[in-house]
Symmetry: C2
Subunit: 199 residues, 2 copies
Amino acid sequence: MTSPRPLRADAARNRKLLLAAAADEFDVRGLDVSVADIARRAGVGKGTVFRHFATKDDLIAAIVLDRIAALTETGGELLNAPDAGAALLEFLSVVAREMQHFDLVYLQRAAELVPELSRAQERLFRHVHVLVERARSYGAVRADITGADVVALMCAPKHAASSLPDAPPDLWQRYLAIIFDGLRPAGAHPLPQPPPSSP
Amino acid sequence: MTSPRPLRADAARNRKLLLAAAADEFDVRGLDVSVADIARRAGVGKGTVFRHFATKDDLIAAIVLDRIAALTETGGELLNAPDAGAALLEFLSVVAREMQHFDLVYLQRAAELVPELSRAQERLFRHVHVLVERARSYGAVRADITGADVVALMCAPKHAASSLPDAPPDLWQRYLAIIFDGLRPAGAHPLPQPPPSSP
DNA sequence: CAGTAACCTGACCATGCGGTCCGGTTATGA
DNA sequence: TCATAACCGGACCGCATGGTCAGGTTACTG
């Protein structure tokens, strides 16, 4: 349905190069990088970009779509994990590690433009809801925490960490731990601390 | 020192109008609004903007500077509050309420451009450090929480809340409570919940 | 190996931006 | 009231960006 004819060899290659270059560039320099820069980085003419993606937003959407899909798969695998609390935490770790500059505010905007992205987003959020629901009845998070809450807080660790100028690259883990602690029932066992360097 | 001659009446009026219009516009539509739009909203020609602020960044800096100063004052008043934990929480509430689109990542960038802003930022952060230090020895936050942590997480509540499309305007309070809970020592008394509607 | 359609390229266009400037206007104070 | 300097406005400039297109190039097919 999607491909009445397979892509030509060079076209397929360029498409991959473009997606990789764009993903890199977006992560490092934000979504404002020019299409020309992306094309140059991919070793390709600017026109080629617009041959594969009708608009710059479509290019971004394609990348976001990939990541959303990957996260959705991860979420799906965790849906039946025995420890629902650990499953939710693991999921949030993957989200934080994967999501760079693509925080939710942009995702919302992009989803309005590309209906396919909107659907993918919905699938992901549905998984989050289930993960939260299970973690709740498991007693790992407070009773009043909803899926929407976790969605809203999903990108906070990375965002907070990146707002400090010279922070270690794994600082987000610290903030994820803090926020996850804030979701726990009162008096619950705290998060197992990351292994200390020295005994 | 700053004014060898007071501003002319119309000039002063236009300056205020511009600051107000710009602050509004930035909060609602983000920092990408064009200078022309701001001028139009203030009922003023575009040239007038650049007469008062040499560059768009200077305009933004002026607004941010105002807010930073206000927050610094608030922080100063709380430095000697009897309940250090409540003081820190109160401070974070004010920050979240005041800061709209001006999250830290932009603040950092702007501070690099305008040295005065950088100094103001430093003053504010110094207050945060003291507030955190006091809250720590007061037992309201964990021993390993630093001022930098709180600075990084300062804007998270508002940011998280604003990432949900149709959220109540006070949702950030909920996320501030969650994050602040995550800062508490293990097993500490949870945050006093917002007053329930029904007795 | 040839014919062809898919593909690539970079010059080109339209647009919107920050910032400049000069002719006209207005507040001010003597 | 009048002279003047401060101020205002909006046409204008240079530049960067997203997007288009004609013409040359290249991978597939028979």
